[in-house]
Symmetry: none
Subunit: 220 residues, 4 copies
DNA sequence: TATGAATGAGGCTTCATTCAT
DNA sequence: AATGAATGAAGCCTCATTCAT
């Protein structure tokens, strides 16, 4: 059932609003149908403005898609940045990051879809996007910091790499959303119930924590 | 660089060969471009037969896509079935499964792409496919068996669920292939070098093994 | 008033006929409206086939235009080649060429229009056309031969160049057709009556003949 | 490479300047791309003012084109009027006119392009332009006068018509510019070198002079 | 079983032009 | 006198699919 972003009051002369309206709607449609599958006509129809304005603001369909991708990354990065880990021990902080990432991905399924689409297209747009490339990645920095603290305390193993750790956390969190349709088609939806999701999240947290633990070190 | 499956000898009077030729080629093209993005013309052009034959054998583009999906699942299931775990201890067997799944996914990127596409389409085709639904899932059975054996020996924790465990293994193995383009665009390609992949696989194995371990039990 | 090339009998399954139908019609429309001005829809409408076939045979609008240009040049060259000058004295042959060119251009106004259009586009298509470039130019060869014969007889001046002579003949013949609209708008249509045209043609012939004459030589 | 007529000082409060700026720029763009091919957006972009002003001053694209055409004719007529033939013998005066016309056309290629465009459009705008129609044509008057003087002296043939003579002179001068792209594409650029052009101009002069000469009269 | 020719529907995009300020 | 935002109409082109042989 397509959501329609038309509003009763015609919001004329609000360029920023029009741009955002298009961007929001387009992200939904791209997430639903993919890049080739999305129809400019449908995007326009769900908008409170016209098809012509899409071209006015974004040039062409690819430009619109790229803008959606950039906006999605920006929004997600923003969410990541807001995560406050101050005052937490390394393992508590790491647990927090895993749980947060898991939930955050769940709450942004459109972002996940856009990234899936981008992967189908071999990251062609991401590669050319200066905007995304230039955003400094706070996730890696935070993990790097936690790892160092944990290692200094002797509770984390020595052979940890922040990018690899980020990869593991991302894998568990991303797959949960990206493969929900096929996974539940094949193995039933229990895993995607609220209880099932809570369980998986806890397992993911525990899995990561157990993994980083220093086997010889002063664990609990 | 598009591979062309033309052969010098015209494969006349070989219905099965023609069908397979189309199926193989179509899978490649769908994997490259997505469902909407793939062009029937291009599939035909890369085939050693003609466009008309695609419609003759598969009805329409959707039918062809569904056939590709089914063939891909069948092939992967076949690979999984061939995995011999006899004579292995539960943890050795589990380690074997994780490593195998990780490698198997890497070696079948087109299968991963088709599943990604299917997820973009909310598993609409998978849901209606009697073929795929009917295939009994050996992966779950094998895991189920291993879990039971491990639990009986007291080396595995009690709260393990085969579907959840399969989910974890799949997540780590699937994400590795599905998100390679964006991940390496953002974090560099080191993780996708041979050494990087070997490292990730080992980490995945260890992560799963540590997770299933019974904390109180008689571990090694 | 647009001519419509529809025929009552549907000439299905006649690829060559369809191609020629499109080519003929397109040449007319391009000649009438220019390259940008011509509408693919109008070309299709005047055809006995459909718009889709235009793209099937010619790729795109530019490809169609280029094909029209090539066909026009080919046809005109063909006409030039058919001109038989055997048995004529150099001055008679030259007179024949001038009169022929003048008439030939008049009878092929669409060719003239296409060349005008091509000049507006800085001969961008002509330059890339291998077809046209490769056609050997019989006009220059014929002129070259006549000049040599005339010079050998001492009746033609020594400083004649075939390309320059061709340029003069072309100028008078081409301008007559290309600038008919503006010239008659400014100076009246008398010049474009049958008598007026006959007069201009005779003048052009005489102008060229007087020009090539050797002032010292044995003239008539 | 598009010339941009932007100036550093914003030309506020200079209606005539704005109008001329638009006119100059539009003439260039029309000359480059034709009537349908020219884009209002591009004209505006190359101007130091905005698109809205084009519509403010010229109503619509056609009005702008017509204004360009009128301005071009006015400028060319002005040039022709400035040609001083006083004190020259009829044949010297005629030689002067031919050489001047040849050079003048060469120096005003944009004018030639506009006339070509106008011919493509069957002189539809020229026909309705009261401005152009009302301009008395000094070229014809001058030729008429020269012819009469030459005939009175017995050096010019009796059957000369000023419009026809103008036609011949125009043909040689106009074609030289209008068909430069195609002609040099087909026959090489030698003819359009400085030397080649000088040669053609001399030939044109001689051609016209020889033509008007009275064969029986007291020639040199 | 096989093929080149043909096509209707619908896709993306561009254009000259006008509106509101 | 001037401008950025907005637009309906129409342009070019592509797609999956079918037809006639």
């Amino acid at each position: 059932m397509p959501k329609i972003n038309k509003s009763t009051e015609s919001a004329r002369r609000d360029p920023e609003g029009v741009r955002n309206d298009i961007l929001t709607t387009a992200s939904e449609v791209f997430a639903e149908s993919g890049l080739s599958g999305a129809r400019v006509d449908e995007i326009a129809a769900r908008t409170r403005t016209s098809k012509r304005m899409i071209y006015y603001y974004f040039g062409d369909k690819d430009g619109l898609y790229k803008a959606c991708l950039e906006a999605a990354y920006a929004k997600v990065r923003e969410g990541e940045s807001a995560l406050d880990l101050s005052g937490l021990s390394p393992d508590a902080a790491l647990a927090r990051i895993v749980a947060f990432t898991f939930d955050h991905h769940r709450q942004n399924p459109d972002f996940i879809r856009l990234v899936m689409i981008e992967n189908i297209h071999d990251a062609g747009y991401l590669t050319t996007s200066e905007v995304i490339q230039s955003q400094n990645n706070t996730a890696i920095e935070k993990l790097s910091d936690i790892i160092q603290r944990g290692q200094r305390l002797g509770i984390f193993r020595a052979d940890l790499d922040p990018v690899e750790l980020h990869w593991h956390i991302s894998a568990l969190s991303f797959f949960n959303v990206s493969n929900k349709p096929t996974f539940s088609a094949l193995f039933g939806g229990a895993i995607y119930s609220e209880a099932g999701q809570a369980s998986l999240r806890d397992q993911a947290v525990e899995m990561i924590l157990r993994y980083v633990q220093n086997p010889k070190g002063p664990s609990r």
